[in-house]
């Protein structure tokens, strides 16, 4: 049995005595008052768990006392039981209306009194529990908001807006969009041009925001170093796939604009249709043709992009599904049809962006938006208009070695067990000007290497590679040759020189084979006949020149690159 502190207020001394004795015998602590005013004063001083109030008392009656006591109790629930010898329904109801939680009739019945005390105390305890839980929730909520504030500050430093405030860009991104998983990034490329990325992570709150940070780091870090869009996407995909749990991914669209070449490359994975709007009103819809970022591993990642020419005055629009999914209070989505209609009926393209924003907001009107509207418009301009903006970036860009040479010799053990190409490529990419060409460079290295290794060191003949069976046999022999390799080498020599337009990279690959008779000058032309392999012809097509040298065990190619501005 629990012990409670009970306040008994009754103007009749013998009534008070009886009630107090009953209560004391039940193990409770009793405090006595003889009238309403005393009751209120004692309530304030003693803070009892329960109040037994006589309805009719001098000085202040029970009803008034009950009102004051309830007010003193404030948020807490201290049960009040009215003591009354009144029997009519109206009077009993009045007790409850005045704030009483129950009533007890005189003459007092011990059993009923005990039952009522326990019932009202259960009520009080439940109320107390609710209060504690509510306070706990409020406290947790405050912590959470504070955590989010810190997270946002960190995020803003990493995923800053870049060049979103460029005059050729219009964009919408709500300040807390990151907690809805939306992120919008833009940066000038050191070689000229711009990268833009719009990401929409699954989920809400901190889990959605967390993926945005490595995404932004990679985007800005690699763009400023001059890496190409597909390399950046590949890197982002790999990172997100490795850190995000299964089922969490990022719908994304990335754009590489060149003002000098007047082209746009677009990669879309999981975002709704984006539009390319030409000055004459022609609208090209680009549909997402890839899985969102972070779903597949690097082997399955497809970096295929749309490529379009753009004239000054043409615009490109990129958005998350917040627009299409915006609902009005009839639960109707804004949808693609409305968007298309807006495009079709707006003559002055300059007004289009704001009109879209207004129209979507008009549609939502009073109903609460459950997703932010994140969208971007970029205008193609003449290269001269953007040059100054880009110059600032260029001067602050990361620099690297411009004139250097190196050689790298690989012996049989290394050839057997190690693929040297990524490492070599990495070295070459230390030159900022080479970074946009990493794909091409890898192809060049790979073709020259396989030529040197297979035909030079292992003396395999291409004659086999005429049909699928032949290919299979060829590669089987290649693998066997590699597994049993005990002698030989492949040497790479690189020499990079800056030029007026940019730079040139001389590549020479030497193998330990005995070479072959390559005829007059050994120059490989892209359109040549069967004498030179397909691979070497590819090298020739990508370089200023490509030729055999020495005894036929050396191959040399010159790759040139130009600055954009």
């Amino acid at each position: 049995m629990s012990q409670y502190k009970v306040l008994v207020a009754d103007d009749n001394a013998s009534d008070r005595l009886i009630l107090s004795t009953i209560l004391r015998k039940q193990g409770h602590l009793v405090v006595q008052a003889a009238n309403g005013q005393e009751a209120v004063d004692l309530f304030d001083a003693e803070k009892p768990h329960l109040v037994l109030l006589d309805a009719l008392m001098p000085v202040m009656d029970g009803f008034e006392a009950a009102r004051l006591i309830k007010r003193l109790a404030g948020e807490d629930l201290i049960p009040i039981i009215f003591l009354t010898s009144l029997k009519d329904a109206a009077s009993l109801a009045k007790c409850l209306d005045a704030g009483g939680d129950d009533f007890l009739s005189k003459p007092y019945n011990r059993v009923i009194l005990e039952a009522k005390i326990n019932a009202t105390q259960r009520m009080r305890q439940m109320h107390e529990t609710l209060q504690k839980q509510r306070d706990q929730i409020a406290e947790n909520n405050t912590y959470m908001l504070q955590e989010q504030r810190v997270a946002k500050a960190v995020f803003d430093n990493v995923a800053h807006s870049g060049c979103l405030d460029s005059p050729i860009i219009k964009h919408l991104l709500s300040p807390l969009a990151v907690f809805n998983g939306d992120v919008l990034l833009a940066a000038h490329k050191p070689s000229g041009g711009m990268h833009i990325l719009l990401g929409d992570f699954t989920g809400h709150g901190l889990p959605a925001a967390i993926g945005a940070m490595p995404l932004a780091e990679i985007f800005y870090g690699m763009t400023v170093k001059g890496f190409g869009m597909t390399d950046i996407l590949r890197e982002i995909n790999m990172k997100l796939k490795s850190i995000l749990p299964v089922g969490v991914f990022c719908c994304a669209g990335m754009v590489d604009i060149s003002f000098w070449k007047r082209t746009i490359s677009v990669w879309l994975g999981g975002l709704p249709n984006c539009y390319l709007l030409r000055q004459n009103g022609e609208r090209i819809e680009l549909a997402s043709n890839h899985l969102p970022v972070g779903v597949v591993d690097h082997r399955a990642f497809d970096d295929n992009c749309y490529q379009y020419n753009m004239e000054p005055g043409d615009r490109f629009y990129l958005w998350s599904d917040g627009i299409h999914e915006a609902r009005n209070d009839l639960d109707e989505m804004y949808g693609e049809e409305r968007l298309e209609a807006l495009f079709d009926h707006t003559e002055d393209h300059d007004l289009l962006f704001d009109r879209i924003n207004d129209d979507v907001n008009e549609h939502i009107k009073n109903s609460a938006p459950d997703d932010d509207i994140t969208m971007l418009e970029v205008l193609m301009v003449d290269e001269s208009e953007i040059r100054e903006e880009q110059m600032v970036v260029k001067m602050g860009a990361v620099s690297g070695p411009t004139d250097w040479s190196m050689s790298y010799k690989l012996g049989p053990t290394t050839l057997r067990d190690f693929n040297p190409l990524p490492l070599l490529l990495h070295q070459l990419l230390e030159v900022p000007g080479l970074r946009p060409h990493s794909g091409t460079l890898y192809t060049l290295l790979a073709e020259m290497f396989s030529n040197a290794l297979e035909h030079g060191v292992m003396r395999l003949s291409s004659d086999l590679k005429v049909d699928p069976m032949g290919f299979a046999k060829y590669y089987q022999m290649r693998q066997e040759g590699l597994d049993n390799l005990t002698a030989g080498f492949v040497e790479f020599c690189f020499e990079h020189t800056p030029t007026a337009e940019g730079g040139s990279l001389l590549m020479r690959v030497i193998d330990s084979g005995s070479g072959f008779d390559y005829g007059d000058d050994g120059v490989v032309k892209a359109g040549d006949g069967n004498f030179h392999g397909r691979g070497l012809r590819l090298v020739a097509s990508l370089c200023k020149y490509a030729r055999h040298r020495g005894a036929g065990n050396q191959f040399e190619a010159l790759f040139e690159w130009q600055r954009e501005i």
Binding site: D11, N12, A13, S14, D15, L17, I18, T21, I22, K25, L56, P58, S85, K106, P107, Y108, R110
Partner: protein, 114 residues
């Protein structure tokens, strides 16, 4: 049915509840009752209806608690009369109550330990 001076069952129950404090309760009742009857008399003398009702109500309650049912019911009817009070009748009722009270007092004093 005729009401007893003191309801035996209630008396027994009270004794049971109060145990060693029973005597205290009885004395408290007696002194309270004397005071109450005095108040009733005063209220009737000055014809204060509100005071009369208050005292009658209170007296009814405490008599009821101690088991003096007849006295309690008398106080109750006096309380109800207040609405359309006839002061002369009230005075008579009070006299009857005082007589009844003497019986109650006698009973109690017998039961009081010395």
């Amino acid at each position: 049915m005729e009401l007893a001076v003191i309801d035996e069952q209630m008396w027994a129950e009270l004794k049971d509840i109060m145990e060693e404090d029973f005597g205290l309760l009885l004395e408290t009742f007696l002194s309270d009752a004397e005071e109450r009857l005095g108040c009733l008399g005063e209220a009737i003398d000055v014809m204060d209806a509100a005071a009369l009702r208050e005292s009658a109500h209170s007296f009814k309650g405490s008599c009821g608690n101690i088991g003096a049912m007849r006295l309690s019911s008398m106080a109750s009817s006096l309380e109800q009369q207040v609405a359309s009070i006839d002061w002369a009748v009230a005075k008579t009722s009070l006299v009857e109550m005082q007589r009844e009270y003497l019986q109650v007092q006698q009973f109690i004093q017998q039961e009081l330990p010395s």
